[in-house]
């Protein structure tokens, strides 16, 4: 068996290797230089690379993002990290008014290779200000790439790819995935954006799952297999660019579609994916596509309501069955 590494450790290893590969790489973020190091993803880097390359930042999220952007203009490759995506919202001016359109408005003459790591909390009462899952917001903006890695292997490869390529990247991490391990090669490697992964081949129903719904979708597929239902689980891995071809090819093969997105129901990635498939092969589908998402509601704190709010295996199984009914 190849080396197993957790999602959190894979992020740490990618950052460490990027910093070793190039002195242009540095890390900014609140508490990145502490022992706890953003849930272990930056722990020890300051000892290895020094406080000039691993810097705590004031609670000024907008300025932190803009600082990374300006530094990128001088040839550096900043990685910034937010403990929760909710804090990152303070930086929307930097992202939406400047970063996303920098290449465009310079007519391709100027680039800002900035990587923004951001964590979506889930569970233990994170509540409405520690759990927002807003990958679709960023995917809506032209000029950004958005990664939604579901496995440790992808987390490492997509993070290295984000750091060392030229279009700014929003790197959305599922906090619930942090402990999950995967085969993670030791050498620095890349996972290119825009390449979906067929996590489990199948012929009856295409189940496209994003981020922390990937393991849940795979378990749902395993359960359904026992009933003789053969589900193909596809993980887009990145939302921008979106590997529309692989998604459509799978749906064309199975003629049935479920999209599981750990985000709100309306106006999100699930809608975009279904629209893409329907635009390409709507009349070839044998049943109506179904999406499995969070309700259009903010996240409740109470341990009694959290399980009701979040998507779990039975929700996915029910959606798959609905396409077969």
């Amino acid at each position: 068996m190849a080396r197993q590494l957790s999602y959190a450790k894979a992020i740490l290893e990618a950052t460490d290797q990027a910093m070793a590969l190039s002195t242009d790489v540095f890390v900014l973020g609140q508490l990145v230089d502490t022992k706890s190091g953003i849930f272990g993803t930056t722990t020890g880097l300051v000892d290895k690379y020094g406080p000039e390359r691993v810097m705590d930042f004031p609670v000024s999220e907008n300025l932190m993002t803009a600082t990374a952007m300006g530094a990128a203009l001088t040839g550096l490759r900043p990685v910034i990290a937010h403990q929760r995506l909710d804090f990152m919202i303070y930086s929307l001016d930097a992202i939406a008014n400047w970063l996303a359109l920098w290449r465009f408005k310079s007519n391709g003459k100027s680039a800002m290779p900035v990587t923004i790591r951001t964590i979506v909390g889930k569970g233990w009462g994170q509540g409405p200000q520690h759990s927002k899952s807003l990958h679709s917001w960023f995917a809506h903006l032209p000029g950004l790439r958005v990664a939604v890695p579901a496995t440790a292997y992808d987390a490492k490869g997509l993070l290295l790819e984000s750091i060392f390529s030229e279009t700014p990247a929003i790197f959305v991490e599922g906090r619930g995935l942090y402990s999950m391990t995967d085969d993670v090669p030791e050498e620095p490697y890349r996972v290119k954006f825009g390449h979906a992964a067929i996590r489990r081949p199948g012929k009856d129903v295409t189940l496209i799952a994003i981020g922390n719904l990937v393991p849940i979708a795979l378990r749902a597929a395993a359960t359904l297999e026992k009933e003789g239902i053969d589900v193909e689980v596809v993980d887009p891995r990145t939302l921008t660019p979106l590997d529309r071809k692989t998604l459509c090819d799978s749906a064309f093969k199975t003629r049935r579609l479920v999209v599981a997105d750990p985000a709100w129901h309306s106006f999100g990635a699930s809608a975009e994916i279904i629209a893409t498939v329907v635009e390409n092969l709507g009349d070839k589908l044998k049943s109506k596509p179904v999406r499995v998402t969070l309700p259009d509601s903010h996240t409740p704190m109470s341990m009694a309501l959290e399980p009701e709010f979040y998507v779990d295996e039975p929700d996915v199984i029910a959606a798959v069955r609905q396409t077969l009914a």
Partner: protein, 371 residues
Amino acid sequence: MELSHKTLSKSGPYRELSLDNLPADVALSLYRQMLRLRRTEEALLAEYHPAEEMRCPIHFCIGQEAIPAALSQLVKPEDYMFSHHRSHGYYFSKGAPLRELFAEIYGRETGANAGKAGSQDISHSESHFYSGAILAGAVSIAVGAAFGFRYRKTNQIAISGFGEGATDEGAFWEAMNYTGKQKLPILFVIENNRYATFSDQLKRQDTDNIVERVRPFGVRATKIFGNDAALAYRTLQAEIARLRAGDGPALVEAYTYRWNSHVGPEDDGANNYRTAEEMKYWKENCPIVLFDEKLRAARMLDDKAKAAIEAEISAEIAGNFKFAKESPFPKDTDWRRMNYEDASPVADRLLGTAARGQFDQDQAEAKLGPY
């Protein structure tokens, strides 16, 4: 003389401009650059609407020539400059090619950004000049450039030019807090023209004392009469020298005035936001007239010399218009390529590929603790 909008327009003729200790070549360059900027803006203003060929918002900077002229003598090619929407003066001061500015606002392929940015978003990366319309956003990015210079241990500085309106925004104060603490090599230049569009600084802020408010953050701050180009030059020269010696950050607030509307050539006086007395004060204390008088008194300028400068500028402007008008419009409609860079030479060089294994789906989610 008290520098406050509360009293300034009642203070009469400005008599403090002095050419002492200013090398003759610098003095003449300051004058020439102010005149060049004034005439360029006047020409653009005159052409703006008649032909409707410049179809983007332009925030003219007539009346605010002293600071750009002073900066033009002090910044180095390797320095980075970031401007707000009233960008022409800063573009000009960074030495970026004016014909590319003309072509840009004419929406032409040969514009600095091939017609994608226009006046308020123009950049010229070869000259390390950048701008944008969302006020303090550009200030924050300038902080990052200064961060980059310190990280790389270079002798470059970042210059951030903006108006007092940007100091209403939180991003400005985040920049004060961070650069003051980090001692970054950045020069903040505020051209305080009193009004954010039509809104008086004294309506938006308790009083016009920005320099006093930034000092406790660790930002050295100086307030000057911004229509005195000699004073602007001396002040900025001293601050830039200190920044290059590692003694940053610094802020210079220059009190000045825009003669025209907030945007475009139309009269926005119907909004009744500024007085005739105030306009008169600032026109009588025009930065070019003030400087002109001193140069003539020092026998460094006469009608003939001025006519020669005017003729040269006039020819340059005519050439810029010709270049813009004769240039083709952009045809590229590859929207995806405009917004995303596909090439990744650094990743290609540093990263290989590796086989992906089979993910074990039977793992519980991370158990979150209380925090």
